[in-house]
Each structure stands twice: as C-alpha cells, then as structure tokens.
Symmetry: D3
Subunit: 286 residues, 6 copies
Amino acid sequence: MLFTYLHLAASDELTRALAESGAACVAYETVETDNHALPLLAPMSEIAGRLAAQAGAYFLEKPLGGHGLLLGGVPGVAPGRVLVIGGGIVGYNAAVIALGLGANVTILERSIDRMRHLDEVLSGRVSLVMSSTLQIEESIVEADVVIGAVLIPGAVAPKLVTREMVTAMKDGAVLCDVAIDQGGCAETSHPTTHSEPVYVVDGVTHYCVANMPGAVPITSTKALTNVTLPYVEAIADHGLAEAVALDPALARGVNVLDGRITYEAVADAHGLDFHPLQDVLPLSPV
Amino acid sequence: MLFTYLHLAASDELTRALAESGAACVAYETVETDNHALPLLAPMSEIAGRLAAQAGAYFLEKPLGGHGLLLGGVPGVAPGRVLVIGGGIVGYNAAVIALGLGANVTILERSIDRMRHLDEVLSGRVSLVMSSTLQIEESIVEADVVIGAVLIPGAVAPKLVTREMVTAMKDGAVLCDVAIDQGGCAETSHPTTHSEPVYVVDGVTHYCVANMPGAVPITSTKALTNVTLPYVEAIADHGLAEAVALDPALARGVNVLDGRITYEAVADAHGLDFHPLQDVLPLSPV
Amino acid sequence: MLFTYLHLAASDELTRALAESGAACVAYETVETDNHALPLLAPMSEIAGRLAAQAGAYFLEKPLGGHGLLLGGVPGVAPGRVLVIGGGIVGYNAAVIALGLGANVTILERSIDRMRHLDEVLSGRVSLVMSSTLQIEESIVEADVVIGAVLIPGAVAPKLVTREMVTAMKDGAVLCDVAIDQGGCAETSHPTTHSEPVYVVDGVTHYCVANMPGAVPITSTKALTNVTLPYVEAIADHGLAEAVALDPALARGVNVLDGRITYEAVADAHGLDFHPLQDVLPLSPV
Amino acid sequence: MLFTYLHLAASDELTRALAESGAACVAYETVETDNHALPLLAPMSEIAGRLAAQAGAYFLEKPLGGHGLLLGGVPGVAPGRVLVIGGGIVGYNAAVIALGLGANVTILERSIDRMRHLDEVLSGRVSLVMSSTLQIEESIVEADVVIGAVLIPGAVAPKLVTREMVTAMKDGAVLCDVAIDQGGCAETSHPTTHSEPVYVVDGVTHYCVANMPGAVPITSTKALTNVTLPYVEAIADHGLAEAVALDPALARGVNVLDGRITYEAVADAHGLDFHPLQDVLPLSPV
Amino acid sequence: MLFTYLHLAASDELTRALAESGAACVAYETVETDNHALPLLAPMSEIAGRLAAQAGAYFLEKPLGGHGLLLGGVPGVAPGRVLVIGGGIVGYNAAVIALGLGANVTILERSIDRMRHLDEVLSGRVSLVMSSTLQIEESIVEADVVIGAVLIPGAVAPKLVTREMVTAMKDGAVLCDVAIDQGGCAETSHPTTHSEPVYVVDGVTHYCVANMPGAVPITSTKALTNVTLPYVEAIADHGLAEAVALDPALARGVNVLDGRITYEAVADAHGLDFHPLQDVLPLSPV
Amino acid sequence: MLFTYLHLAASDELTRALAESGAACVAYETVETDNHALPLLAPMSEIAGRLAAQAGAYFLEKPLGGHGLLLGGVPGVAPGRVLVIGGGIVGYNAAVIALGLGANVTILERSIDRMRHLDEVLSGRVSLVMSSTLQIEESIVEADVVIGAVLIPGAVAPKLVTREMVTAMKDGAVLCDVAIDQGGCAETSHPTTHSEPVYVVDGVTHYCVANMPGAVPITSTKALTNVTLPYVEAIADHGLAEAVALDPALARGVNVLDGRITYEAVADAHGLDFHPLQDVLPLSPV
C-alpha cells in the first residue's frame, strides 16, 4: 500500500505503473473532509505561507537583486508594503509573518466572511480589501512584496497577475508565487528550485520555488506526521477497507485500487476508466 | 493673586490692567520645568490630541461636509489614512485614537529619538517618517484626515501646511489644526468655535476650534486640577515668595508682580519694562 | 428586475405598485443563508456599529449637549464607560471602536457562545455580561454612552431600554439606538436624520439616525457592492430562475414575481395572497 | 566586611554590636544612585508586586475566607476589580499581573508623568487616576482586591487607607499591603508571616506578609544577585575605599565603618554620633 | 422535577432512589447539543481552567511546598514554564491566565484544527505542540507547573501522566489535575478538598481539588445560572414533555422519568433496564 | 571638508593622507552626545539588528546549510529559539523581528534598567536574563539562532562566544555576529560579504557580513540622511567653527583639522600627536 503525495494527474506513466502494480494507492492531496478541507495539504500551506513572507523580505536585499529595502523600515523611514493575494491558509500565514517583520500589509480576498474572521483575529492590523482585477492592478504598483496565495484545491491556479501588472510593479520588487505547485497565479511565473530560487522579469524578482516546505524538513516532517499519523493508525488498526468505510475523507484519498483508477480527475486526465471506490471496495460509503 | 491661563502677550490692555491692579499674576502657560516641559499645558495637549482624532473621523461624514468615509473601513473596504504632523504630546494622543478608530496612521516628526520612543510604545503600528516640506507634500495628498500637531511652546506655530498643499488634498478630507491656539500650522487656518467648528477651503474641511478642551469640561477640569493643585498647595503653604524660591518652574510662571512685568516675552510684546523676578522678589533663584 | 433594499412590509402602496408592475423584485434585506445569516445586511451593521461608537464619543461634548467628557480620559482622569446592549455584528463593531477610543466597555449579550467568541477575539479587554432586564437597569446608570445594538432580523426590535431606565441615566449621557431602523430598542427612541441627528429626553442625548451608513457613502457603497456583486453576476450569468435554483439564499430574497407576492411576511403585512416561490418559479428549490 | 540588608535604624543592639565589631557594614537598602533610585531594593519590589496580585486572586477564594470570586470572571460574568494604590515599581508589577489575570484594574498615583508612562507601556488597558484621600474612599468600596503599593524609600509608609475605608470595603474583599515592611499603608495592617499570611478585619482579608519575596527564593536570589554582584566585584577588585570613591551609590550604602556610624539616619535613630563617610574614609567623594 | 448535576453513574443507591421517587430527573452534565457540546459543563470548565493556573502559581511558593519560583520571573530572571496537557476549554482558559502571569506556556493537544484556532486567538504567544506520550515525557521534565486538562465528556480521563513521568519532574513543581472529577489524568492523582488542596508525591505538589469551581461561588453561580436559566424557562413555559420535544439537547439530559432510566450509560452502570426517552415520553424527537 | 564614516584608527595611510590634505575631516562614528549616545551610528544598528533576525531565519533553511527549521513553527510544531546576546539597539531590533517571525526569544543583557525597559515595551513577550559566561553557555546549546549584539562603542567587541560554545551548539544552527564590524563577539567569527555571506564552523552557519546595512541602501540612506542632515545644515549655516562651538556632539566628530589629529584615539592608534580641538579651533567648547 502506498500512502503519500502522488499527484497522479500530472503523470500518465506513474499512474499506469501504479495501476499495474496492484498496490492500493492513497494520495495525501486528495484526502478531503466533507466540508472540502484538505487536512494533509493544510500544514504545507501554513509552512509555505510563512516561508514566502521570509523570502519576500530576504530578496528585497540589494545584493540579491532587490531594490534594497528593509521591509519593516526603522523609526524615520516608512516600512515597505506587502500585498497578499488570497486570504486562505497560505495568505493568513504570510500576512502574520509580514506583520511581524513590520511591513504594511494588505490582503485581497473574495470572501467577506473570511475577511471578517481575519479582521477579528488580526485585530485590525491589516487592510482587508475585496479582490478584483481592478483592485490587484491598483494595489500591485505600490507593493514591495507580492505574495500570490490563491490556491484552488485540485485545480490550476487562476492567472490573476498578468504580465502587464508585473511590468507595472516597482523595479526590484519581489513576487513570491506560492501557487506555483498548481501552475502559479502570475503569467510570468515558472517553477524554480531551492538551489536557484529566483529569476527576474521586467525588474521584478520572482520567487517561485516548487515544494517550498522542502526547505524546512524538520518542521515540515513533524507537521505532516501530525496530520497523517491518525490515518496511518486507522489503516493499521482496521485495514484499508474498513478504514475508508469509517472515514469518507480517507476514502476520497484512494486513487488506485486493485489495478483500477478510483479517483475521477486522475482517470479523466489520462483517458482511463473511472471506477467509483464503492464499486471496487463495496464497504466504502462514498 | 491670580493663578490661571493669562496669555498676556496677546492683550496689551489686560497686561496693563493687571500691572495696575497690583495683583501677583502667575500664568499657567509659562510655568516651565528645567527641562523645558510645560506641566500645566500638557494635559490640555493630551485632550486636544484625542479630540482632534475624534473630530477628524466625525467630519468625514458626508452630511457634515466630508467625503463620506468611515475612517476604520470594514472588512473588504480599506481604512482611511490619517497623517499626523508632529509627534509630541498632541500627535501621540491623536495617533493613539486614530489607531483605535482603525485608521492607517502616519506620524511625521523631526526627532529620531522621539520616533524611536513612539515606535516602542506603539509596537510598530504606525509609520514613523522624518518630517520635511517634501515629505508633507507627498503624504498630504493621500490623507483623509490631517492633524496639525506642531506646537512650539510659547511661539507662533510654523506654517508647515501651505495653501498649495491644501489645494492638493482630497476633496472632502479633513484638516484639524490643533496648533490654532498658536496661530495654526496651515496657511488656510483661522480660529473657529465649538458652535461653528468647521469651514471649507478648496474642498477641505478645516476644524480649527480654539480651546478644544473646552468641549469636555469634566475631563479638562479634572486633568487641569490634577496638575495645578500641587502648585496651589505650595503657594498656600509657603506663600508665593517662598514657593517660587523652592520651585523654579513656578517662578517662571510669574508674569506680573507688584505692578511690574516679570516675564520678558510679555514685556517685549507691549513695549513695557522687563523686571527679572529675582529683582522684584529677592528670594527667587531664577 | 429590481434588486435593492425594498422593505415592502412597511409600505402597502409600494408593494401593490410593484406587484402591478410585473417586475421581479428581489429584496436585499431578505436574502438569507441556510444558517439564517443576512449577507446583504451585515456590512451595513458593521458600518452602523462603528459609526455609533464615534457618534457616542462626539455627542458627549458639552457644546453638543453632552456632559462634557472625553471618552478615553487621559492619564490621571478615568475613561468613560460604554454599555453595548447586544453582542452581534453591530455590538462587536461598536465595542471595537469604543475600546479604540480608550473607553471602559461592557457588552451585554444573551448567547454564551457568542460571548466566548468575543472574549477570545477581544483578548479579554471588555466585560462580557449576560443580558437581562435587571442587568441593563444596573449597568445603564453607570454608562456615559449606551449603544442599543439589539437587532432581530426582520422583526421589530424589543424595547429593552425603558423610559424609567433612561430617566435613571446620567445627565448628559448619550444613547445611540442603532436598532432604530427596526423601531428602536429604547422606549424613548424615534428616528432622526443626519441633518438633525439628536434630541434630548430626560437629559439624555438620543442619537437615533435612521440609515446611519448613509453618512459614509464611499465606505457603504463599496461594502455593499462587495456583497451584492456576486448575486448580480449570478443573475446576469444564469437568469433569475436558474440563479435562485442554484442559491436558496437568493431565492429567499424574491419578494414579488409575476405580480404575485412570494415572501410570506410581506403578503401577511398587507393582507395579500402569499405564493411560495416554487409555485411561481418551478425551478426554485426553496 | 558585611554587605547585606541591615535595617539598622530598627535595632539599637545590632547597630552597637556592629560598631563594636569593627566590621565595615554596607547596607543593601541604603545603596542609592544620584537620582534617588535604590537599585538593591527594586528587584524585591518587582517580586513583591507580582506576588501581591497572585495572593489577591488566591485569597478571594471562599474556602480561604474571600467572598468567592474569580478575579478574571468568565464570558457572561464580569471580572473583579483591582485597586492599586501607588504606581511605582510595586504598583506597576501588581497591575501587570492583575491585568493578566483578567481583572479590571485601576491605579491611583500622584505623579502625572509616571501615569503618562504607565499609559504608554500598558497601552491604555488600566484606568489611571490621580490619587487623593477622596479618590481612595470612592474607589475602595468597589474593589475586590486592594493592593497597597505606596512606598517612600527609607520612610514609614503613609496611612492612606483608614479604618473607616476598610470598614466600607466589600465583605470578603482582600487587602494586600505590600508596604508592610515599612509599617503598612493601611491603619488595620500588621505584619504576618508566610505560615499565617492573612487575618480578617471587618470582613476584609488582610494579606500583610513581611518579606514577601522570601516565598520565591529561586527568583529572589537570582534577582538580588543580578544587582549585587557588580558591587561585590567592585569591592573585590578595588577594595572598599576605592570602590566607594568610584561609585557614590555604594558610598551611600556604608552604614558602619571603623566603629563609627557613617549613615546619618542610623546615627539619629540611636542617638549615636554621625561621622560622614568622607571623614572616616578620606577617598570617598560623598 | 429535579434539574441539577446528578452524576448517577457513580451511585447505584441514588439512581434507584430517584427511580423510585417518580421524579423527572434531568442531569446538567448530560444535556448535550447535536454537535456534542455540553453547555452546562462548559462554564465550570472555564472556571476550573482559570483557577488551575492561579493555583499552580500559588503552590510554587516555597512556604507552600513549591520550589520557590515566581511564575512570571522579573527582568533578569527567566519566567517559569507551564505545560498544559489538552487544549480544550479548560486548557485554553488555563493557558490564558498562565500567559497573563508571565509564564512561558506550552499546550499539548491532538487536534490540529483546535491548535490552529488557539494560534489565531492567542496571536502566537504559546507553543502549540502535537500531544503524544513521547512529547509529554519530553516536555514534563522542563515544566514548573503542569495542568492536566484532558477531559473526555462522560468518560474516565486517560492516565496520560504516568508515575514515572511524575518522578522525572522537577522537585517542587506543581501538578494541577483538573480532570480529577473524572478520575484524573495522572496516575498519582487522587481527589483533594479545598480545605486540604495539595499533597506531595515524589517531590511534586499535586493540586487535585474536586469541584474546583466551588471555591468561587459568586462567579460559579452566576456562570451556571446564565446557562441553565434558558432551560428552566423552557420547562416552565412548555412543561418538560414539550420542552424536550423542542430541544434535543435538553432531551439528552433526562436520566430518569416515570421510574424508568432513560439514559443508557446510567442504566448500564447499574445493570438496570434502559428505556429510550421517546418510548417513555412519545413527544420526544430523540 | 569631509563628513562621513572615516574609521581612521584602522588605517594609518588614510589618516596621514587626510592630515596632509588639509581637509577638515569629521567622522560620523565619533559624533557623540553628552550622554554617550552615537546618533550617527544608531540607525545603522537598528537596521543591522532587524536584518540579523531575517538572515537568521533564512539561513536555517536546509538548502542554505541550516538544519531545516521554520523559525516560527506552525500549530502542532514548536517554534525555534532565538538567543540575542546584548539588549541594546541592535538586540532590541533583532528581538522585535524574531518575535514577529514567531520565535521563542531570549535576550541576555547586563543592565537591569535596560531589561526593565525592554520588559515594559515588549509586554513580557521575551525572556530577559542577566548575561554571564555561564548563562551564555547554558542558553546557547538550546538556540537555533544566536544573534551577537554586543557592541561597545569605539572598542573591540568582547569575545563572549568561545570556540567551545560554538562546538556545543546544535548542528545547523545559525550564528549572526552583528558585532563583526568591531571584530565580532564570537571567537569563530571573521568578516564576510553580501556576495558570500556565510561559512560553517563545527556545523554552525556563521553569518558575519560586515556593513550589513549596505544590503538595504534605500532604507539605510534615508535613515542616515535623517540623522546627518541637521549636522550638515548646521555646518552650512554657521561654518564648522561655529557649528562645533554650538554643538559638542559635532565637535567630538572632528578627527582631523588643519593637518592635525584632533581625536585622541586616532592619534594614539598611529603614534601621531594629538591636538585637542579647542587648541586648533579656539571657539570650540570641548
């Protein structure tokens, strides 16, 4: 049995190989609760959000290609501005760290209820503004650091930041595209690695490291184990069949079973037949 | 003996009448400690600063002539911007209340040490920027409320806000000139009263109420009594001669004694002879 | 099609005219989610709550009829007391601003769960007390500002503040009745306007402006558009029939359709026949 | 050489014995800087202030004789009130802990400058009120815990809390008299011990433990060593004569030298001759 | 009719006597909402959590058997460490007060969602760590105060703190076992009373007072009445039959009716027949 | 006239050349106020302190050689520990940013008064511990990031962190030695550059960039201009002779005048004759 991140939609070869292997393949990234939360992705989002703010501050330094600004300023010199696009888990964590660094922070978000929650827990220390193309255009030209935190679970990230917007940004500003694992939310983004984390487009430093949490394995491993262990225990205690019967979230994680594809998006991606889990594994309530 | 606010430099008639009366006249506003603090003015500055922020928020309302903005915004709508010119007692108190109202606050100040102190006690929640004509020009166009908090003890306030700057401000913005008792720090300011507190110049609502603390007599009276009582007690216990001998701050408050003018700026203002206090009252150490 | 605030229960004439017009009339105020939230009223409640605290502070000024108190006090003079009756959206926002002004704040509320939430997000800075007639009587005599924030969606506000309680209040205290749009929560309240916002009963200044958010149209318009736009887009994209089929909250907003009254309370108010929406518009799931 | 707390004014016998011993006796409690700070007493004041707030909360419990109140309340039940008389080191520390326990805290203090400082660093979370007999009378009847924090260095504490005031307090309230080492600031106070810390007068639990810091020797010893060690090192490095020559604060600590009394108040207390230190030890600059 | 805490599972005699009495017996502790909250226990948990932190600080004092540490430290001396095992209502309230006392606080908890919430509302001021036996072992040796806050509604508390762990704790540390009413979460815990609240095992002071809220009856009574009154009113207004029909939470509170046991766990505990409430009282929807 | 950073003690050649040039040379780094503050160095210390905390967080990342820890942790994973040695301007600023990043922060400092101030303005969020060799040894082994912030104006930094201590640190921890411009406070430190900022000793990443503020020229230039401009204006308005006569702080900045060395430490460093400024420039009051 294989229980890890799989991202099968991205690899035809891997999908077919796993189907042929006969292994039961449960993907971390598709474990999903009834209210659409993704418990095995959330800790990675927290880590990536926090790292993004740190990286944004760091790459503002002149020797690293930035315009040479201290994000928090000092008494007598105004702080820099951080624009966080998206107020979900990534955005909240990025904003908390950016505030901690002393920056002037704006979060653009589309859910009013989410903004109310953020206003309450951040005690009014950030500007919370309804997101729209117009608003992004307006806010992005003032930003020293832009953090792209728009993730739609299981979907390609929308290209909210256009090439024109990047061109309009300040010279030496930094764009951290945390959505890069899902294609990025800027038209100018393409994945980078921890060994070469940044590149420059139109004077804007792009930080687009795929798998950002890989930079902090002590924290990431603990955080991931915290959330996966209960599932591992459930499988170990009850066997997969009963475990998925007891927990629909886990059931949604099963991508491949008995040589068949049991997750619809993966089947679709590769033109394979989709077999609902409950057909393959009659116990499952999904 | 008269112990109250006198402001004799402003009235030739009053000065001469008091000299003729033979009364000992001690002015609250010239009681001054060795390190140049004005203990009987400070509480009025605190009150005026706090009232200024409240008035700024209130006169942003459309029916009162403002552009119709809620200073603190709400989740989804960015807060307004408050520019406080001068980070002394008035400015600090105005900033604290403006922050409490949810505004985005910038303080312009010239003393780095003072800005460091404000940064520490306000925990980084305001932008603290070195003041200059250029900086005021740049910041004032973005402000929804401008609070003029530049007071130089015993001097006419400098005209830091020019007519051109006022013209460049947003339509419906509010300018509270707390320095109005000393002539105002904007070229467009002239004193108003609590019954008609505001007027409009170039679309900018001017709140220039002289004697702002008069609006809150319960608070002002208590605050003033808190600081004057120890002097009253000293005079009652020791008599004026000994009291001023013991306390140079009180000595500096004596403006008129035995028909002679003992405060130089008052004598100068009216072309009268100045008699140092120690000549009139030999005990005094001043 | 008409999509705006309608308040048809209050006007027989308007209701009949709209029915005759044949227009589809969707009322902002009856759009209601499954968990009884009113998403198109909430931003107005946030704005009204914040304005109420600002108005309360302002009308404490002596020249405006108050007893002349600075709500936040100054070092050496205790702050004033604000009593917020009702800890919902209005009450929370009023309390946040009152705290920001430096006041000593008490919220009376009946839901323990709500009070727990407020305690968490306000970090223990307000007194949260179970509301009851007895408690209001006890607390109101100590208050400098009372904010009536008891709104029951779609119902007349309960008269929690009696004439006797008003009589027992401090002379020069301020009562802001935010529930005035639904009749007010004080027996002594009657609607006022922004041009004459206050009147005095038994020495207590009553601020009972109907449509408070009208004072800050920049903020109100943005806040309202933030929440109405998604509905407008849904109607534009899908047509009303499909849009209400997809979204029961929107369906509840339909008051008049094809000449028939589809909202029960409106039909009842005017003795007209009530036609459930799904009868008139078979697609609707309500 | 003896370098410790001596309190010789309180013991004729000890004073004479030390004089006869020929030892150089330096008293912690009279080491005093040029600006009248007492560096070797301050850490004990910090500890006592913090302990006082903890004790106040604890002795409110019913089984310990209090009226049975949780100082911080819970959501739905208002917190208790703590009155701190004196806003010096003891009072500040007591207030910080009382705030942390969730209480509603008022500090009475006579220095406006000190109150301004407390307002800044406590961010407006306490009521800061000018102290007076009238104010104490008014505030004490509402308090659940009163902390007497009025210490005048080297003098008997003033009896600010009269018997009548104690009688007027709530039944089951707690009075912690931190000034007890200097006689106490309440007429009803007399010293108690850690083994029997409290007694009751007119229904008010009195906590008047002398040497409060003795309850937390780990903390007290470290805190004391932190401040005494530099003096010990100076004496060890330079010898007493040179050390006091270099440091007037240490010089003020010398009470007995070469059989003579070198601290005036001690000499006065026992009718002994006073010998200025510079006469006995010519190097000393005092 | 009897409506109070009953805890019938613990007493065969009481259960049988109540059944024979014919009284309708509704137990506070089994009133349970659809989402498994226990509204009539929650306020007691809040109070117990806050008291536990206060007791922990107090029993660190040397004369009371502790190692003599001031929990909050002072500048120059590090604060003590508080370990809270369990981040539910008890744990959150204990942590808030421990933070307020100046301690360095760690909460061990198993729900990531709960930890996220605590991180938001406590603004990152506590360390939030996934609980496990290994983690408890590691953290407990560094703690000065351990607060056992692991309560599983209606079940015996798990023995998370073993004898070995207690032995490994610091000498003079304090263990407050708030779970004592359900058997305690430490192997070394046994119930104590307010008159003799503590005992020592292996150098560790155990504070295991059953019914902790009994120490603060003013607060406890108000808090309890706040939550029970609405049920009392419902019963008074509608009669029990209709009241339980309207409110499934109240229905779950009925333990004994018409001589029959209607709460399964109680019936099981004493080998009596269980009669579902809807059989005895046909109106009930449970 | 030359008015900039000179650091002449470090360069014999430069010193002689400037003397020969006949230029008046005023060194930023020796401008010193009467109370020993260095106003033209302080802003650089603020910037360096803030950058140090950012760099510490960044170099904990695994790909950069760190042990792979997210400094602030996430809910469920404890934050890292930052040890700041020295609580002056550098240390305070480093601590503020480290707190903002979510770290657990300890400051070691020798001045109790300074620690009291830090405790007040940081509201008890850091552990403030008296510094000593023993304490550094004890604290350093637990730290993930160590910030060396011990600067003695005009002197070589003391080597507080020994080679043995570095060896005892965690593998992959980061040591930022902000004192590197004065030789560094760790035995293992040697200056690095922004292009190669780090090297590893015994598994510990050393970040020892000389001239750290050079990384953020926008902020550094503004901050420096803020403090130098008033001196430039004074020299421009009055000429150097009168300017130094008016301002002893500026006078202390004059290192070379009329071919003579007027700053003693520079003269000593190169075995040149020292000419007190008042001899060379009779107006000067120094």
